[in-house]
């Protein structure tokens, strides 16, 4: 699927299994530069990185470190997403995410921070399209 966001997340903490919770977690950093195409229209003289684009950054990070056993699973839903502070051109997003199984599905829970504090908390739900 084509993405409206140019920025690619960089791994800053390699994915690893968390001893007690068994979750598969990793850390990422994403630089949102002024030449993201969305800023031209969101908004012409008031550039704010759209919330759905923050979600897109989380999704790209999540899909870069799918946990063992979740390969082939696709995004089925946004379970919940809360936006707390705005993201502006030039911001650096820190993303802490963790994958955990939910029955047959997988949940990716992520916290997104900028240097001004928490920007968003997001929970994505992934499901394997069984061929049946």
């Amino acid at each position: 699927m084509t993405s409206p966001v140019l920025a690619a997340p960089r791994v800053v903490r390699e994915p690893a299994r968390d001893e007690d919770s068994g979750a598969w977690s990793a850390g990422f950093s994403v630089t949102i530069t002024g030449d993201e195409p969305v800023f031209a229209g969101h908004y012409p003289d008031f550039p704010i990185f759209p919330g759905v684009c923050v979600m897109e950054c989380v999704r790209r990070a999540a899909e870069a470190v799918m946990p063992p056993g979740a390969e082939g699973a696709r995004l089925a839903a946004v379970e919940s997403c809360r936006f707390l502070t705005a993201v502006h051109p030039g911001d650096e997003l820190g993303i802490e995410l963790s994958w955990s199984p939910r029955g047959e599905d997988w949940r990716c829970a992520a916290r997104v921070e900028t240097e001004r504090g928490r920007a968003a908390s997001i929970r994505l739900r992934y499901r394997r399209e069984d061929p049946a």
Binding site: G41, A77, C81, L84, T85, A86
Partner: protein, 169 residues
């Protein structure tokens, strides 16, 4: 019915992020609008010489943005003039399900219903269809109006979330 020029006057969004083409129905607490998807969407500009069907699937998070802009039109109408110049914030969303790919040539029909409104906070729900088939379901999106703040203004944004300025152009 709000025409395209009406949509453009009501929303501060502009190319490439103005994602509502026309409002087809506008009731006291519900709205329907359409967004046509063409092979010329700006996002496809980066595709290589050969594109797969998957490459041409419309970005699903932009379906959410298109739906929330439709909700924004209803929110502005419900809030009336009291919020002129205020900022409309999308604070949160939950249970947003994706059901089918949207492809060039599809016309997406959004339907949004107001579930609850208390002073400056509103909660909407609904979904989107193509040819009557559900492509998106939206459990809940919350919207609030806050005094207009511009980035770099000294007062920190209390809760800017996804900001869309309601001030007239």
């Amino acid at each position: 019915m709000i025409t395209t020029e009406g949509v453009r006057a009501a929303l501060p969004h502009r190319y490439p992020m103005l994602l509502v083409d026309r409002v087809t129905e506008l009731g006291p607490d519900a709205i329907r609008a359409i967004k046509a998807v063409t092979v010329n969407e700006p996002w496809y500009a980066r595709l290589g010489p050969r594109a797969t069907r998957e490459d041409l699937a419309y970005p699903d998070f932009l379906l959410i943005e298109s739906w929330t802009q439709t909700a924004g039109l209803l929110a502005k109408r419900l809030a009336g003039d009291g919020v002129e110049g205020q900022v409309m914030l999308f604070g949160s969303m939950s249970d947003v399900g994706f059901h089918r790919r949207v492809l060039p040539g599809d016309t997406v029909e959004h339907h949004v219903r107001l579930e609850r409104a208390v002073n400056d906070t509103m909660i909407f729900e609904g979904g989107s269809r193509v040819d009557g088939e559900p492509v998106l379901t939206v459990g809940r999106v919350t919207v609030a109006f806050r005094p207009g703040e511009r980035p770099g203004a000294d007062t920190p944004d209390p809760h800017p979330g996804v900001v869309s300025r309601t001030g007239g152009r």
